[in-house]
Amino acid sequence: MATAILEQFINGTMMGSIYVLMALGMVLIYGVMHVLNFAHGVLFMVGGYIAHLFFFNLSGSYPVAILCSMVTLALIGMVLERLVFRSLRDNLRMQIVASLGLILIVQNGVVQLWGPHALQMRPASVDSLVRVGQLSFTVQHFVIIGVVVAAVTTLYLFLRYTRLGTAMRATSQHPEAAVVVGIDPNRVYTITFMIACALAGLGGALLGPLFLIFPQMGDAPMLKALSAIIIGGMGSVPGAIVGGLGIGILESMSTLVIPTDYRDTVVFGVLILMLLVRPWGIFGVRVRGEN
């Protein structure tokens, strides 16, 4: 029994790392811009497709493909922020409508361009296996965990020690005060969005080869990431990490005790519970006047 629990724990951290990557992007966007970006899932998916495109049509080098994917997504993010989200800044409901519209455009656009069938991409890291006792993982599993750790660390250092990172934190805390001290909020918002989209692209480029690249690949992870940032605390980076890993592990472990067709229900149940009991999340800060 103990090995079963341990095994599920490890399985959960793998998928959880992907959720973390997606959640990081979403929490940045929400924390700095107060925008709930439902389209994050399709951006993640585009990251996978772009990586596939560069992998097969260019060097055949996986790291290069990942990099290209991140850059492309950052550029897409810049365009989206300028064209779509900038003008909807304080309008929560229209942001949601806009992001839903984006989902339709992007998801169906991908189907138009690449067809509805799944793509496969198998760089060397996916085909080589590593055995850990009874369990076996591909090198890609470790690559994912490693990259996510690196991304989280980089993000933390960036936010903490660079001017731009500090500017982002300042804007998220109090946009008007940030203007007073000379920060250009528009620039901050654009950069935030670009970083978030790059993270989404990274996630898609990492996950795609491990399984398959297909138009709906970001849908379920987006919902999990959304749950993660809420459980962790909207606007909190540590919250996104804990939330993402937590949900991944919860999903895996729940299969030990409940019928597997209710796996999603467990995650959403926990989400609802958290919202009822402590809506500002584990690491969130309770704001006075709001429940």
Binding site: L36, L92, M94, L100, N291
Partner: protein, 326 residues
């Protein structure tokens, strides 16, 4: 005044639809389907348009109503009206259970809660094979029994017959919405939407109003769901999944949230347009996505909002002279 005229015109046109579309059963079919979506959209309008709460799981309530009515009519053999009322009551009850703990949440969180609730309801529809027929669906749902009024045979098995039933139900729900919105309750709802704190300061029981609106909107959605599965004569969990809930929000916004006829216009456009734009389905969805982006940016009040703005522009001078309007 003008809104009333528009509504009356639509009413008459709707009643005459079987005549207007006499040789085109497909057009009548699409219209019937649109009405089946218009009903839950009216429910959502009550919640979103008038109370200001976004629900991304509203088709879950429609599903509760749908399955309740379907099972009662198919397996238990109950007649139409009690089954429909039971469906509405069941949906309203689920709304109550969800609303009581969740309505005190702030808007972002409330939206996510409704999404989660919708997904949980979908899972229940899909997994509870014994109760709902599960993922394979529930085929063979009977149409309501016909009856005779004197020499007149009223039946609901034909397209025309069911259309008239759907039209009647939609009109009743619309009338209910009309009365509700015009009442003191409705005005209090508007005040809650505009500024909760101020409304509370003026003595409005904010939570009570929100809860009532939520329960009613859930019940209405339940009626809509029931009509839809009665129309299709089959129920499927995928008819009530997340994408359907999202579509409901989108059609309401398209038509114009906060307008009485907004949900109906939105439903007719949303359901009707793709049926007449049967080019590659990805292309029409992409087209629709762009429509939404434009809406969000330039016309957040939807078609009705645009119509009202255009009307105001044209008749600006008369407005200034102070002609009474409702």
């Amino acid at each position: 005044m003008k809104a009333t005229i528009v509504a009356l015109v639509l009413l008459v046109a709707g009643a005459l639809a079987p005549v207007i579309f006499a040789g085109q059963p497909y057009a009548l079919y699409v219209l019937t389907l649109a009405l089946c979506y218009a009903i839950p959209a009216i429910g959502l309008n009550l919640l979103y348009g008038y109370t200001g709460l976004v629900s991304l799981g509203h088709m879950g309530f429609a599903g509760v109503g749908a399955y309740t009515t379907a099972v009662l009519m198919k397996d238990v053999g109950l007649p139409f009206v009690p089954s429909l009322l039971a469906g509405a009551a069941a949906a309203g009850f689920v709304g109550l259970v969800v609303g009581i703990p969740c309505l005190r949440l702030r808007s972002h969180f409330f939206i996510v809660v409704t999404l989660a609730v919708g997904m949980i309801l979908f899972t229940l529809f899909n997994n509870l094979d014994g109760l709902t027929g599960g993922a394979e669906g529930l085929p063979g749902i009977p149409r309501p029994q016909g009856f005779a009024i004197g020499p007149l045979e009223v039946e609901f098995r034909s397209l025309t017959g069911f259309y008239l039933l759907a039209f009647t139900v939609t009109t009743l729900i619309f009338a209910f919405q009309y009365v509700l919105v015009r009442s003191d309750f409705g005005r209090s709802l508007s005040s809650v939407r505009q500024d909760e704190t101020l409304a509370a300061a003026r003595g409005v029981n904010v939570f009570g109003h929100k809860l009532m609106a939520f329960v009613l909107s859930a019940a209405i959605a339940g009626v809509g769901g029931a009509m839809k599965v009665l129309f299709l004569r089959a129920a499927a969990p995928l008819s009530f999944e997340l994408q359907e809930s999202i579509n409901l929000v989108l059609m309401l916004i398209l038509g114009g949230a906060g307008y009485l006829i907004g949900p109906i216009i939105g439903a007719v456009i949303f359901v009707g347009l793709p049926e007449f734009l049967r080019i590659a389905s990805e292309m029409r969805l992409i087209f629709f996505g762009f429509v939404l982006l434009l809406l969000a940016r330039f016309a957040p009040r939807g078609v009705c909002g645009l119509a009202e703005a255009a009307y105001k522009k044209r008749f600006d001078r008369e407005e200034a002279v102070g002609i009474a309007h409702s």
